[in-house]
């Protein structure tokens, strides 16, 4: 008989199956490590040591996780409305422009806590603006949001390179980047938070954006499960025809969902631009937008899941960097392989194990 209609308890759907998928992804990653002649268990040990072994390592892990929480939320919000936003990467990139403009214009005059709210709004506005055209095209013109957001990633990259090379570059310097922000345009590090746990942050750029990210998690949860708009978005995500029949405005809901998604992606730049490098640089997003897809899939589009998945990917990014020092044979790009495998097993093959789980569950219950 068909197993698709059998419902499984939540702990299997949200606990066991994602965990098994994750284990499969790591199993195949281990195979790759083994194939190039290194010991996978030793590699795993280096990876975990490198990510969690010291105070500054944890700081770097959480710094990466902060970026991934923002982009993961971005993908998740769109996903709840049935939209696949591949454009978080580009929206974060353009969002950086918003954050940088605020930082550059205010850092001479006010302390960071005055700059911060404006920077949040600036980053979110620019990110949202970059999501607006694909959203409008999807809602009004019926063009596929996946395709348009991919195109906008590339258009955004070209635009940002142009602006950095021709407009923002500091005269006399070679590097295409803005000037360094003064402390008034930087987000301070969270060394006091680490000190609470008796850890030293060292050079790690773990900063206030982490707290902003957690606040956003709460707000997204509130939006999706406790507001009318969230209800409308979820209805649209499950069945657009039913949503329209129920009187939910399609165009408005799609555009608002994408604007929120783009805004959250844009806020990722707070962490990278104002929290870490204190300047706007070329390619500063460095794939975080795409990691957001994996994070959102792993976290089942729920803020709590997203935080956990973001920390997992933070561990991979920081630990992977350390691993490539310890085992020069394994380059940092091993993370990209693991990331791809996680997306493949947890996302594309999410239903693969389901029939087997249903049979197991039914046998266990004696049916």
């Amino acid at each position: 008989m068909s197993t698709a209609s059998v419902s499984l308890p939540a702990w299997i759907n949200y606990g066991v199956i994602p965990l098994l998928n994750l284990i499969l992804a790591f199993f195949f990653s281990g195979l790759v490590v083994w194939a190039i002649g290194e010991n996978p268990f030793e590699a795993l040990n280096f990876l975990i040591q490198g990510a969690l072994g010291r105070g500054d390592a944890i700081g770097f892990t959480l710094f990466y996780a902060t970026s991934f929480i923002f982009t993961g939320l971005s993908v998740a919000v769109a996903f709840h409305a049935g939209l696949f936003n591949i454009g978080s990467e580009g929206q974060a990139y353009v969002g950086g422009l918003g954050a940088a403009l605020v930082a550059l214009s205010l850092d001479h005059y006010v302390p960071w806590y005055v700059t911060m709210p404006f920077a949040i709004v600036g980053a979110a506005l620019f990110g949202a603006a970059w999501a607006f055209i694909p959203a409008w095209l999807q809602a009004k013109r019926g063009s596929h949001i996946v395709i348009t957001t991919i195109m906008f990633n590339f258009i955004g990259a070209a635009l940002m390179v142009y602006l950095l090379v021709n407009v923002f570059i500091v005269p006399g310097k070679m590097a295409p980047e803005t000037r360094t922000f003064l402390p008034g345009g930087q987000l301070p590090k969270l060394d006091w938070l680490m000190a609470l746990f008796g850890l030293k942050l060292g050079p790690a750029p773990f900063n206030v954006s982490f707290i902003i990210a957690l606040v956003m998690c709460y707000l997204v949860w509130l939006l999706i499960w406790r507001t009318k708009l969230g209800y409308e978005m979820r209805t649209l995500g499950i069945s657009p025809t039913a949503a329209v029949y129920a009187g939910i405005p399609y165009v408005r809901t799609v555009i608002i969902a994408m604007l929120i998604s783009g805004g959250l992606a844009g806020m990722m730049s707070l962490n990278a631009v104002m929290g870490a490098s204190a300047r706007l640089q070329v390619e500063f997003v460095a794939g975080a937008g795409f990691v957001g897809i994996a994070v959102s899939l792993m976290g089942r589009s729920h803020p709590v899941g997203i935080i956990l998945a973001a920390i997992l990917f933070g561990i991979l990014y920081q630990g992977g960097a350390d691993l490539s020092f310890e085992m020069p044979n394994i380059t940092r790009d091993m993370i990209v392989v693991i990331q791809g495998l996680v997306i493949f097993f947890a996302g594309a093959l999410e239903y693969m194990l389901r029939p087997a789980m249903v049979r197991l569950y039914q046998t266990a219950r004696g049916k």
Partner: protein, 323 residues
């Protein structure tokens, strides 16, 4: 005459730059017309470029390299099929995942095997596809206009270039004049009807994906052992996405695909030529505009301002057989 020579050289380079796009867009054509979206074209191109470079380096045989490139691209296609046909997973997610796997794996394996930071070894000349001088070039050289065009645009390309252009009518013929093609197009529009006619949707879609892998393998091979002489990190550099844009721009039809690829190739060649030069009246045009133009054009098309691009109806939807 000087302008004409420049024009001819831009045209020649446009042809060379459009070949990987053409193979890849035709590859995507088969998959998307069968109802399987393929974001993973980029990854297939990259993985097959790597495989072709490795095998050509080890064996010194370009055809062995091509076979390896095709084989690896087909494997990636089948993985995509396993996820999106057999397990009815999300096709976009699967494509994104395979792109990451290709991007990471090529560098990890390349570094481990060749120790050159992700580059493969330099492929010897006999392991590469080099230019073929067509007969009559010397004879035609003095003929105005046609002579230089023949010598620099039509002649002097490698065999893969000619295969690429042959693939266009061949794809058209397969899609529109064979039983397989008719069924393939039907399965992309209405798989239920195909199923009712007693034809296996699953097997048909798998065959379409094998064709996709086959063509994408040519694209990758072209990049690594025809256009250059080694695999370089991330050498597909977004060409898979431009090919996807070209496919949409051509409204999922084989002959327009060729023109779209030539247009995007020409834009690329023109951007290279314009670097640091300025146009009369307009001044220096930023090179980024040319880089973004294929994507902007595709979005304008998708917005419905240049005709309507209607994708295959069943694209992106996994098929569940009714019970």
């Amino acid at each position: 005459m000087e302008y004409f020579d420049t024009f001819v050289s831009i045209l020649g380079s446009a042809i060379r730059l459009s070949i990987p796009l053409l193979f890849t867009a035709l590859a995507g054509l088969f998959s998307e017309r069968a109802g399987i979206f393929d974001i993973g074209l980029e990854g297939k191109m990259l993985a097959s470029a790597f495989a072709a470079a490795c095998v050509a380096y080890w064996t010194g045989n370009a055809w062995a390299g091509l076979s390896a490139g095709i084989l690896v691209a087909i494997i990636f296609s089948l993985l995509h099929g396993f996820a999106s046909i057999t397990n009815r997973g999300n096709q976009i997610v699967s494509g994104v995942a395979l792109n990451f796997i290709a991007a990471g794996l090529t560098i990890v394996l390349g570094t481990a095997w060749f120790n050159q930071g992700g580059r493969t070894g330099q492929v010897p000349p006999e392991g590469r596809f080099s230019g073929i001088v067509l007969p009559g070039v010397e004879m035609m050289r003095d003929v105005p206009i046609i002579g230089p065009l023949y010598a620099n645009v039509i002649s002097g390309n490698n065999i893969l270039t000619y295969i690429a252009f042959l693939m266009v009518p061949l794809s058209w013929w397969v899609l529109y004049r064979t039983r397989f093609g008719l069924r393939l197009r039907a399965v992309g529009e209405n798989p239920g009807a195909v199923d009712t006619a007693g034809i296996s949707v699953v097997w048909l879609r798998y065959r379409a994906l094998i064709v996709t892998g086959f063509l994408a393998g040519f694209a990758g091979t072209y990049l690594s052992i025809a256009q250059s002489a080694a695999f370089i990190n991330n050498m597909s550099a977004g060409k898979g996405y431009i090919a996807l844009a070209a496919l949409i721009f051509a409204k999922w039809k084989p002959v327009p695909v060729m023109f779209a690829c030539l247009l995007f190739g020409f834009l690329d060649a023109f951007a290279n030529f314009m670097q640091g030069k300025s146009l009369p009246m307009i001044g220096e045009v930023p090179v980024q505009i040319f880089q973004a133009l294929p994507y902007i054009l595709t979005c304008v098309l998708l917005a419905g301002f240049i005709g309507i691009a209607r994708p295959p109806k069943a694209g992106g939807v996994p098929y569940t057989k009714e019970r």
